[in-house]
Symmetry: C2
Subunit: 106 residues, 2 copies
DNA sequence: TGTCAAACTCGACGGGTGTCGAATCAAGAA
DNA sequence: TTCTTGATTCGACACCCGTCGAGTTTGACA
């Protein structure tokens, strides 16, 4: 958030990322993928951990993919997901700098 | 995101915060407030900077308030907003640790 | 009291979102 | 090829969200 307020054009792109995180199911999905720390996670493993249906999980994964937060790769019969660290870092930094800017004043 | 995947109960609360950030107008509002670094911003100043109507801005500020990301205080005829650093830091940390966990593997 | 300005609430509209079952696609095994 | 399993896409439903104009509240000032 920094010293300079966000330009509208930047806000649109960043909001897409935050919007993708704005659902409990997606947040849990991302956390389960990120918890593997470099390793990938099979979709079958994710669907087993949720009460929602397969199509719903697939939809949420697509939202995370479209937001650039995760990538997917098919190997054989299974599809594996992994996080995109730079994308998460960009969102994190935005909030961090703004929090710091305010904290520094106190 | 850390080593442990998010519990569903935690995910619900955190998702509220991210959801509030998932709109370009709200992201810009928050950035304008945060850019003041400890100082507060008058609503009148915010509405002037946007093309949206007053009621719309007021609605977005309420969403940010309900999410605990900002606080408001009335003084005289004007209402002033300021950010809640700890709330932003909590969201930032979640993304940061997950990004770090993955980056550390590489 | 009455009036004015700032901010919020209300009601409504159009479009978007989460969810599911059914159908479809992809890849391996018989 | 046909069959089976994993994953996605499709179509539909109920609900939510961003937006506005109109009306309401709050406080200052005559």
């Amino acid at each position: 958030m920094v010293a300079e307020p966000l330009a509208e054009i930047d806000a649109v792109g960043l909001a897409k990322g935050f919007k993708a995180l704005g659902d409990p199911a997606r947040l849990r999905l991302l956390s389960m993928i990120a918890a593997r720390a470099g390793d990938e996670v099979c979709v079958c493993e994710l669907t087993d951990a949720f009460t929602q249906s397969g199509p719903t999980i697939s939809h949420h994964l697509k939202v995370l993919r479209d937001a650039g937060l995760v990538t997917s790769e098919r190997r054989g019969s299974w599809v594996y997901y992994r996080v995109v660290p730079s994308a998460l870092a960009a969102l994190s930094k935005l909030l961090d700098t703004s929090a710091m800017a305010v904290a520094a004043e106190a």
